[in-house]
Amino acid sequence: MIEAYQAVVLVPYAAALVLAAVPGYRVGAIGNVIASAAAFAAGLWLMLGPPTVGSYAIVDEFNVLFVAINTLVGFTTALFSASYIGHEIETGRLSPGFLRFYHAMFQAMMGSMNLALVANNIGLMWVGLELATLITVVMVGLYRTPQAIEAAWKYFILASVGISLAFFGTILVYLAGQPVLGEGLQSMTWSLLQATAVRMDPALLDLAFIFLLIGYGTKVGLAPLHAWLPDAHAEGPTPISAVLSGLLLNVALYALLRFKMLMAGQPAALDPGPIMVVMGLVSLIFAAFMLYQRRDIKRFFAYSSIEHMGLMVFAFGMGGPLANFAGLLHMAMHSLTKSSIFFAVGHVAQAKGTQRFAEIRGLSVSHPRLAVALALAVLAIAGLPPFGVFTSEFLILTTTFARQPWLALLPAFGLLVGFGALLLRLQDTIFGEPVGPAHRVDASSVPMVLHLMLVLAAGLYLPPALVIWFRRAAELLG
């Protein structure tokens, strides 16, 4: 009998193998959707099941949340991708052969991310995360334009260095665990490490955390480790941008948080809070400023992702039940909203045949529905009600102010600067007289609308079950 946690990993991997063998991009696309749906079902199954701790896998309130979001967004992205890539074939940007590869890689990436999430072993988690990263490297370079190759190359190098540093950190964690837990697998097992953290050497843990922070922080997109992120988002296929922003960053953050939990277990160790607060703020404010000079719509929203990852890292750095709760909520909301923004941007790029802001004007005249959806998504990410991002930002800012009033000015400043840029670009794209071509949009709007509905619903009402989950996860974070 297969377990749910096995299913979320094995279903995508199996699908990857099958899809690699399936000719015909339509069949591949459908297969991709079915496989993602199956993974999503497995994710739901996992969510309903009891927490389990095995020697290789762990399922607790904390990662179940991530798996659920991961599989959900994976599913909707597959849906979006199925309707989107037809257009890429038509315009000749991709050939059917590449699509076969694309679909297989998509599933492999989903499987790797799920692996990183459910792994109860720091090495396995590292493997999953790095595998997912390397696959996205390949996906980013899929169009094989000079820009795409440049972006992929940059991503590859920075990610490789990150991989190495994270591995070094992993070794250090093992070294810290080994005198306590003994040699072998147990010293790499999450659940055991965490339980015995208090007996580990604090200086070694400090060292490990710093390497892990830089290593995984590269994937989270924290400034100044972010450089790969905007270009990778801008040059890759739009579904991949959605998955990058919506999921991969989360998984990396998840890894970081796991280690933060470990650090919290040893009071004598460095408090990761202040470091995370600083890095989060640097990312948040830096990305907010970077928004102003962007000319490419996808790169723009990539920077917005850096901004929001910064905010989350800030919130987790603040710690405490409210801030952690808010951080987790923000993560969920950001995943849904940002991926829906990338869906919308994909539509826009199809409609206007360009990603450049200067050539996107007056969408509310030429494509009213698309403009409304884009506007709602952007306003949602800007933290306006009635969307869920408002809820999380409300909690983060109020609780920060209540605890450290002067510190609260900084994230507020960053958010305001970013808000100015978001609104400016939004107004420029949807208002005014339209310019340039106005093509028909082929891609399905269902995923985008679905995400927006979820974010809207979260802004209005958080189901108690979800709240309990978030709360337990927040407690685990300490």
């Binding site: 090495g123 260095v161 070794i171 070294l175 080994q178 003994g182 040699e183 790499m188 400090d206 790169r299």
Partner: protein, 219 residues
């Protein structure tokens, strides 16, 4: 046990010295030779660990290090460099003296960090950890003080040598072999990419035209 430790310590020390040599070398050919020397030393260290601690699977890692990083890659890179005609001086960002000073500081930093660890707390001797960390940091330093793509690849591989050293030193750490294999694949990709995408001697592009063409968001 004492002797076993002394030998592994010696080998690690040699690797660190070679790391400095890597920083010091001016010509690409010399850099590649130094790297080959470091990789072979690593192979010896890993083999010694495999033998002395009776972990035969580590011989695989040692073999890979020896064959791939000690022979195949240096030779391949030699050829490439000759073919592309960039085997002369390597363009450096900071002077050799400066680079060595920074390297020394990094060694000091790793020593300072390791000293704080209680002697019995780690599954690896503290000074060996310090050596491995220094090698990793020096590899990273090498990546950023040279403008040449080949030397940067070498820097990355040197970093990875440090990682493998630490991983083999960590007693009883699982998955070391698998990871070393994975890293080798990564390095192969690296080298492959240098060939295929013609990212010739520089990936530190300072050519404005190239920037305009390649980097997004300039338009």
């Amino acid at each position: 046990m004492k002797l076993a430790y002394e030998i592994s310590h010696l080998l690690a020390g040699v690797m660190l010295v070679v790391s400095f040599a890597l920083l010091y070398q001016q010509r690409i050919a010399a850099v590649l030779n130094a790297f080959a020397a470091q990789s072979i030393t690593l192979a010896l260290a890993v083999a010694w660990a495999a033998w002395s601690e009776d972990r035969p699977d580590l011989f695989i890692t040692a073999t890979i290090a020896f064959l791939l990083k000690g022979i195949v890659i240096p030779v391949a890179l030699h050829r490439t460099v000759t073919r592309l005609g960039v085997h002369r001086e390597v363009e450096k960002v900071v002077g050799v003296g400066m680079a060595l000073l920074v390297g020394l500081a990094l060694c000091g930093l790793s020593q300072a960090l390791v000293v704080k660890i209680a002697p019995v707390a780690a599954g690896l001797a503290r000074d060996e950890l310090a050596l491995a960390m220094a090698i990793v940091l020096l590899g990273f330093l090498m990546m950023i003080v040279r403008r040449n793509a080949v030397t940067q690849v070498v820097g990355f591989m040197s970093m990875e040598n440090g990682l493998i050293l630490a991983a083999t030193g960590a007693q009883g750490m699982p998955l070391v072999v698998e990871v070393s294999v994975a890293f080798s694949v990564l390095i192969a990709l690296f080298v492959f990419a240098v060939f295929v995408f013609r990212i010739r001697e520089r990936f530190d592009t300072i050519d404005i035209e190239a920037l305009d063409r390649m980097r997004g968001d300039r338009r």
